[in-house]
């Protein structure tokens, strides 16, 4: 009788996995260190003054904090309207309010900057005299970009909040304001903290909007010094780590342990929509409407106008194919890089927190830093087949997979954790071979999560800018880099066509994702 071969001991596999993941996550930091120790570059960078560094650092922190505060207020208000209010058109309005997620921040920034410029389509109409750029404009754009993240996180938490708890407080004589203050807000605190963490990291690590708006923050500074010799770029990279770390700690302090707090409110209660007072409804709807105008309607109108009315300068087929190829291959790479730790964590029944932390840390590292670190490593690879491999796009895929591995991890972990071992044992006892178990039991259970993980990563990859901009092989362009270049060259026709194509691609993937998630429910 054939006895099953002993599996690799879990602790050893986990240790190897931890080491492997740590090594991959450490690559950009290694590149940063090498750039500091052995600075190389075709042109030496100009000297950088302390004042400029201090300004960029304080701008980074202020930008992150301001965007977080405004996005938290707006996103929480929209989440409340979505879950707790019922008035004609409320469902449509709140569904539309998460659609700006499909617009990358650099595209939103580019359309608003060009559209609201004194000679822009809307700027002229409104009689604007000043350019729409700089720190304030960046805060505005990033608030528009980040609000849907807050809305999604807070509305999910609000839906899970059992109404019985609020009813209990009401039956004990608590007024509506006391219920919000003492029951709802403390219960939402983990979700609000988690949303704050998301927005803090997003705003501090953003490259696209700050580059388009010419805002001197650390990510944009690092990009500007990246291709030059000298220690300026690694110095800025180090400062970026120093600036972001306290923000992450602050976010975690605010949120506590989001996952375990959610578990204490597992029972879903009766959630009934309420019709608010007319004046409250008017203010809420006006805010939501204004948000939608700037975050969705205006950008879409401008993109369509430029794409349709202004002739494009160059063909689009190349960037379109490159985007699709990079999106698909990097999406598959994230499934491997995120799937491995997810499988190990699931095997240990949700333990191995270090692996999970590492996966999320990798995704928290700003794209511009990953791009810079890997670029420095590639520059130090000796000429030969390995160098060709790196320059041929492998390093780009590695960067994108590192950046978005957490998307696949988050999609796959729950599916792997909920895979019933008993159903597999039942299949084996019924005579199914290992292959048939995979095909008919494990596979169908994991398929929706694999598809979701892939599509989530695909959408993020095709919208990504700094890693692609820094690591894409010479002579290639994606739709994202085409939009960025077209904005720099003021070719609005190119910008419009590329943006419409990118949005089309994202919307198709998003539609598939919604279909899958509905199927899963």
């Amino acid at each position: 009788m054939k006895t099953p071969s002993p599996a690799l001991p879990l602790s050893l596999a986990a240790k190897l996995g931890l080491l492997g993941t740590a090594a991959l996550v450490g690559l950009p930091i290694l590149g940063l260190g090498l750039a500091w120790a052995y600075p190389v570059g075709l042109i030496d960078a100009p000297p950088i003054h302390t004042d400029r560094l201090v300004e960029a650092t304080s701008n980074t922190v202020m930008l992150a904090l301001l965007v977080t505060v405004f996005a938290l207020v707006l996103g929480s208000l929209f989440a409340w309207i979505q879950v707790r209010w019922t008035f004609p058109g409320s469902a449509l309005l709140t569904r539309l309010s998460v659609l700006p997620l499909v617009l990358p921040s650099f595209l939103l920034a580019a359309t608003l900057r060009e559209g609201l410029a004194p000679l822009g389509s809307l700027g002229e109409l409104l009689g604007r005299q000043e350019r729409f750029d700089g720190f304030g404009a960046t805060v505005f754009v990033l608030v528009l970009s980040c609000t849907p993240y807050v809305q999604l996180v807070v509305s999910a938490a609000l839906k899970r909040l059992p109404r019985h708890t609020e009813e209990a407080a009401q039956s004990l004589g608590a007024s509506p304001s006391r219920i919000v203050r003492e029951i709802v807000l403390p219960a939402l605190r983990p979700a609000l903290g988690f949303a704050a963490l998301l927005v803090l990291v997003y705003a501090a690590a953003d490259f696209g909007a700050v580059a388009v708006m010419d805002t001197q923050v650390l990510t944009y500074e690092l990009y500007q010094f990246a291709g030059r010799g000298g220690v300026q770029a690694p110095l800025i990279g180090g400062l970026l780590i120093v600036a972001i770390s306290p923000l992450v700690i602050l976010g975690r302090r605010l949120g506590g342990d989001y996952g375990s707090s959610e578990l204490s409110y597992v029972r879903s209660g009766h959630t009934a929509g309420q019709r608010p007072a007319l004046w409250v409804q008017t203010i809420g709807t006006a805010l939501l409407g204004t948000y939608l105008v700037f975050a969705l309607v205006l950008p879409l109108m401008l993109i369509t106008r430029w794409g349709v009315l202004i002739p494009a300068q160059g063909p689009l087929i190349g960037p379109l194919i490159t985007t699709a190829v990079v999106g698909v291959t990097a999406g598959l790479a994230t499934l491997v890089l995120g799937g491995f730790p997810a499988a190990l964590v699931a095997q240990s029944k949700g333990k191995r927190g270090a692996l999970e932390t590492l996966t999320f840390v990798a995704s928290g590292v700003p794209g511009v830093m990953i791009g810079f670190g890997l670029l420095q490593l590639a520059l130090r690879v000796p000429q030969g087949s390995l160098r060709s491999f790196a320059e041929g796009g492998a390093i780009l895929l590695l960067g994108l997979a590192l950046r978005f591995a957490s998307h696949s991890y988050a999609a796959l972990k729950p599916a792997l954790l909920t895979q019933s071992e008993q159903s597999i044992e039942a299949a084996r006892l019924l005579g199914a071979s290992r292959w048939r178990v995979w095909r008919q039991v494990r596979g169908p259970h994991l398929a929706p999560a694999l598809a979701s993980g892939f599509l989530l990563s695909f959408v993020a990859v095709v919208k990504e800018l700094p890693i692609t901009l820094m690591l894409i092989p010479a002579g290639h362009t994606t739709l994202a880099t085409r939009i960025f270049d077209a904005h720099e060259d003021a070719h609005l026709g190119d910008l419009g066509v590329a943006a419409l194509s990118l949005l089309g691609m994202v919307l198709v993937a998003q539609a598939l994702l919604w279909r899958w998630s509905r199927h899963e429910r």
């Binding site: 019985h164 708890t165 009813e167 009401q170 039956s171 004990l172 403390p186 605190r189 209660g269």
Partner: protein, 333 residues
């Protein structure tokens, strides 16, 4: 005669166009314990929500303490205990109990008194997540009792607890409520729970739920006025018969009947009315027999109905015949 703390008059409740319960007439006197017993989906929890003020009746009226109940929930002066406990998970046991006493004179004394009475003193500083189900429900009850409500609403409060704890906690709960002098309205689908705790039971059945009968437990068991009431108050075979002059003829023979009704009736044959004899051609089929602590239980099937009957000895037979004892109760059909 004591005053009514609650009166429901022809109350109809609906979610949008869907009526969940209608024609509910019910009164509760001070200190009285009334249970609403009914199957899932008959709208019994909605009745409680309407009394608490969380939903408005689509027709009919509710009076609390002699006045129309129009105040919002926070000013109705009724307490409520929930099936899922609905504790404030971010507050300690002490703060949960004291929540409804904010700003009230003697709040601390009252909280300490309830902590002691509910044997929660040692757990006062713990968060609800660190308590067992039974302890959580004691906190839920103490919290609801703290503001001294004259009426306590209990929405299947023991449904999430295991069977042994359910019985124990139910009796304890009744004692606490009684010692506070509060009236109670319990919603449950558990017949034993309702019968063990209530002065009177209101049986609700159907969809939308309608009130079938309100009475004391023994009266409901012995003289149900509806087949649903007979089924919900205990084991019974419901057998069609023709009745005249307090006699009835059914498939099981002739019987004396208590009710003075004529024509087509349904006889209510409780286990204590049954004499069962093994009979290969008998009409009752023995589905299953098992020993339960002191007696042999036999699950019998007859004409699409099942009834479980306790006997001192095992009946070693596949089929049984039945003769009935004493006068039976009959319901008009």
């Amino acid at each position: 005669m004591s005053a009514n703390v609650l009166s429901l008059d022809a109350v109809q409740l609906a979610y949008g166009d869907t009526v969940v319960t209608e024609g509910i007439d019910l009164t509760i006197k001070a200190g009285e314990w009334v249970s609403i017993l009914g199957p899932s989906g008959c709208g019994k929890s909605s009745i409680l929500r309407a009394v608490a003020g969380f939903m408005e009746p689509s027709s009919g009226s509710i009076e609390l303490f002699g006045a129309p109940a129009t105040a919002p929930p926070e000013r109705r002066g009724v307490g409520m205990v929930f099936q899922d406990f609905a504790l404030f998970n971010h507050l300690s046991v002490r703060d949960n109990i004291g929540f409804g006493l904010k700003g009230a004179a003697g709040a601390e004394v009252r909280v300490n008194e309830l902590l002691k009475r509910c044997e929660l003193t040692d757990l006062a500083d713990r968060l609800p997540a660190h308590l067992s189900g039974g302890q959580q429900q004691r906190v839920g009850l103490a919290r609801a009792l703290a503001p001294r409500p004259k009426l306590l609403l209990l929405d299947e409060p023991f449904a999430n607890l295991d069977a042994d704890l359910r019985g124990e906690l139910g009796s304890w709960c009744a004692q606490q409520i009684q010692s506070e002098g509060a009236a109670a309205l319990l919603v449950t689908h558990d017949r034993r729970e309702a019968m063990a705790l209530s002065d009177r039971i209101a049986i609700v059945d159907g969809s939308p739920g309608r009130l079938q009968q309100v009475d004391q437990t023994q009266a409901l068991y012995q003289k149900p006025n509806h087949q649903a009431v007979a089924r919900m108050t205990g084991e019974a075979l419901l057998v069609p018969a023709r009745a005249a002059d307090q006699r009835a003829r059914s498939a099981f023979g002739d019987h004396d009947v208590l009710a003075k009704i004529e024509g087509s009736v349904t006889l209510v044959i409780r286990p204590e009315h049954m004499d069962l004899v093994p009979d290969a051609n008998g009409p009752l089929v023995v589905d299953h027999s098992y020993f339960d602590a002191q007696q042999w239980m036999h699950r019998l099937r007859y004409n699409g109905q099942t009834v479980t009957v306790a006997q001192n000895q095992r009946l070693n037979a596949d089929r049984l015949s039945l003769t009935t004892r004493s006068p039976l109760w009959a319901i008009a059909r």
